[in-house]
């Protein structure tokens, strides 16, 4: 493997679902429009890097991660793992892939089989992948996720563990096979704030100290900086903005990214944060045709937005898919200037009242 080959490369990935057709549709032989859950996502992830995929529920981030790990066939596009297209994998390749790529789930209360002890949960991985020295590995990995003394935890069932401890076991299950890539699906969103920091620290140590790469999905921008080097913001199946984490957090360019950032409560009794001006909720990515998918909620909507925006490079490390930032378009440039000062100033929309009848 050459050093500049990315660990994971995704090219123009699309995943469409057929809607569950009702009996009436079936009788009328009506074809329903597919759900465009993931629509043209591309990125590369180098070794020892971490990428955050950010968006609200329904933006396609979960479908993306499940497609990456091979639970769904992509509709089109390519997923290259260590330079090989996963669609060309044979059975042996998949087995290897399933060892090298591990997943951590959002809900620690359901991620562990309630009937299996910590030891059995971890042992299962080793059995599936035919790995020896099981006892030593189990002990090592539990130390690594800071469940010590190990003997106190080995024979516990999930119901005898707290939320944070369950999530540690989940992480241990992923780590025990020494993966190269971990896909983490909102691993801290269901934990109490008192343990959240510890799990974030643990994940970030995996990247820094153990050379693991990570795709981390979350709806919450306030914690991504602790884990992710790069960010991608998704809206209704498309990436609207991507770049280095500090850049996206400090200089968000897409109106949606700004809205996401501005909606985060600030733990300071004196901070005067404006409530979000964004009306409504994202719809479903069904039959949405051309144009920017955010345009119906966008405070800076222009006529041009009926055309699908390209992804513009603002710098080598910062891309945004929004006409406001197209240099070739005078009108867009004007708008960009007028709205760049204030985050989601949204004066043009009347406080969102009644604006979201769908």
């Amino acid at each position: 493997m050459t050093s500049d080959m990315p660990l994971l490369q995704v090219k123009n990935l699309e995943k469409y679902y057929d809607q569950q057709a009702g009996i009436v549709d079936w009788i009328l032989r009506k074809d329903s429009d597919p759900v465009q859950a993931v629509d043209g996502v591309s990125f590369r992830l180098d070794e020892n890097e971490s990428l955050g995929v950010i968006g609200e529920s329904g933006c396609g981030k979960t479908t993306l991660i499940e497609t990456l790990i091979g639970l769904h066939e992509p509709t089109s596009g390519e997923i290259l793992f260590k330079g090989t297209d996963v669609s060309t994998f044979d059975k042996g390749d998949w087995k290897q892939f399933r060892r090298e790529v591990q997943m951590i789930f959002q809900d620690p209360f359901n991620a562990l089989d309630p009937k299996l002890s910590v030891r059995e949960t971890l042992e299962e991985q080793l059995k599936i992948h035919d790995i020896d020295e099981r006892d030593r590995r189990i002990r090592d990995v539990l130390e690594q996720v800071e469940l010590s003394p190990v003997d106190n935890y080995l024979d516990r069932l999930p119901k005898q563990l707290s939320g944070g401890q369950k999530q540690r076991v989940s992480i241990a299950r992923a780590l025990i096979v020494e993966p190269e890539l971990i896909l983490a699906d909102e691993p801290v969103s269901m934990l109490d704030v008192s343990t959240q920091a510890a799990i974030l620290q643990l994940l970030s140590d995996l990247i820094d100290d153990f050379g693991v790469s990570m795709v981390y999905i979350s709806h919450d921008l306030s914690t991504v900086s602790y884990v992710c080097h790069q960010l991608q913001v998704m809206y209704l199946g498309r990436v609207v903005e991507s770049g280095a984490t500090e850049v996206v957090l400090n200089e968000p360019k897409h109106p949606y990214t700004r809205a996401l950032l501005s909606a985060i409560p600030i733990p300071d009794s004196e901070a005067e944060r404006e409530r979000t001006e964004l009306p409504g909720t994202p719809g479903d990515p069904i039959n949405i045709g051309n144009g920017c998918r955010f345009r119906d909620r966008c405070p800076d909507r222009m006529e041009l937005c009926d055309k699908t925006p390209e992804s513009y490079a603002l710098s080598t490390d910062h891309h945004v898919a929004c006409h406001l930032h197209s240099e070739h378009d005078d009108q867009g440039d004007l708008n960009a200037v007028s709205s760049s000062g204030d985050v989601a100033n949204g004066q043009s929309i009347s406080a969102g009242e009644g604006g979201d009848e769908l």
Partner: protein, 351 residues
């Protein structure tokens, strides 16, 4: 805002009968909510905040009971009222409730207007017509077209359902609305939209709101006063600016330090090891003791009384034997608290 508190909770202890014995979920809690006040109750899961709210609503599970203390609403003790009295005089009319996961708390088979008329019939003297007129006004307040009161819940988007619930809570003009984690599991933008509407109500209708949440940032941003709960005890109660800037209880301090702040994306977050204990029998010690870096033997010997944080302030109370030391250290910015006992291998507090 009048001086007389709207809701007063005094030395409240709530216990559940379980196989192992009486489980104490709320222990000797005291606080008050004034008229027109936006009051927050913060704590992590297992801290007793849900039990507290259920006891105020008189809706504890059948194995739970108020074993000590009083709950006063407008000066009247309500903890022993009968179901009938509660329904006729208190529920919805005086104290309304926005439940957790409220988006799903509308009956999907009934028009929203029907649900409102039923509420009115149960808890007020309004006839159907009056109820509907009133409900239309409420829809206007929360920003939904009044003509849509006859819709079914499924015709509404998620955000509109939330607002419809708020409209239902407002409907009989209660003096107090209790909201239990109204935005848990929602995305940030939706959360912000909902709090915008709740803010609005406080401003325009003047209703008091008691917000129960695990999210200290939401409380700091919105509320006037707050209580911090841990293990069934009130750790600290006072104006949010005081608790934000001059926390006296170690738990308040640590909770703040554990909370991420988007303005400082690289700040170190503190970890509070363990979780609140499951207390069987009377709580006769500080429930934070096993997680507290400041804890001493004293903290195990008796529950700390809820006292004035500073002698000259009558609005800020804290229950900690070592509050003065904690405050001093926080002020000096020194960090010479000892490592939590967790590190020394004690596992008991992990449970």
């Amino acid at each position: 805002m009048s001086d007389d508190p709207l809701l007063e909770v005094e030395n409240l202890t709530v216990q559940y009968k379980t196989k192992e014995g009486m489980l104490t979920a709320v222990s000797d809690a005291s606080f008050a909510v004034s008229e027109g006040e936006y009051f927050g109750v913060v704590g992590e899961s297992g801290c007793g905040k849900s039990t507290l709210l259920l006891s105020i609503l008189n809706a504890l599970d059948s194995n739970g009971q108020v074993t000590n203390g009083v709950i006063r609403y407008k000066g009247e003790e309500i903890q022993d009222l009968s179901e009938q009295e509660l329904n006729q005089r208190i529920r919805w009319k005086e104290i309304a409730y926005i439940p957790q996961g409220s988006m799903n708390s509308l009956d999907p088979l009934e028009r929203i207007s029907t649900q409102a008329v039923q509420l009115a019939g149960l808890h007020s003297d309004l006839n159907e017509e009056e109820a509907l007129t009133k409900f239309e006004e409420m829809f206007e307040i929360v920003g939904i077209d009044p003509e849509r009161i006859h819709d079914y819940p499924h015709q509404f988007s998620g955000g509109m359902k939330q607002r419809a619930i708020i409209a239902l809570a407002l409907f009989l003009e209660p003096s107090l609305i209790i909201a239990d984690e109204p935005t848990t599991a929602l995305d940030v933008i939706m959360q912000d939209q909902i709090f915008k509407h709740i803010d609005d109500i406080v401003d325009r209708v003047g209703t008091s709101i008691m917000l129960i949440t695990h999210d200290i940032a939401v409380v700091f941003e919105s509320c006037d006063r707050m209580a911090v709960m841990h293990g069934g005890q009130i750790a600290e109660v006072g104006p949010v600016t005081r608790i934000d800037n001059e926390p006296h209880h170690p738990y308040s301090t640590l909770l703040q330090e554990a909370f991420p702040d988007i303005r400082e994306p690289n700040r170190d977050l503190s970890v509070i090891e363990g979780k609140p204990p499951r207390q069987i029998g009377e709580t006769d010690y500080c429930t934070f003791v096993d997680r507290c870096p400041w804890a001493t033997e004293e903290c195990r010997e008796a529950p700390p009384p809820l006292e004035r944080a500073e002698a000259d302030r009558s609005d800020h109370f804290v229950s900690c034997f070592r509050k003065d030391d904690v405050r001093e250290e926080n002020e000096q910015g020194t960090d010479d608290r000892k490592a939590p006992n967790q590190k020394s291998g004690s596992l008991a507090n992990d449970e």
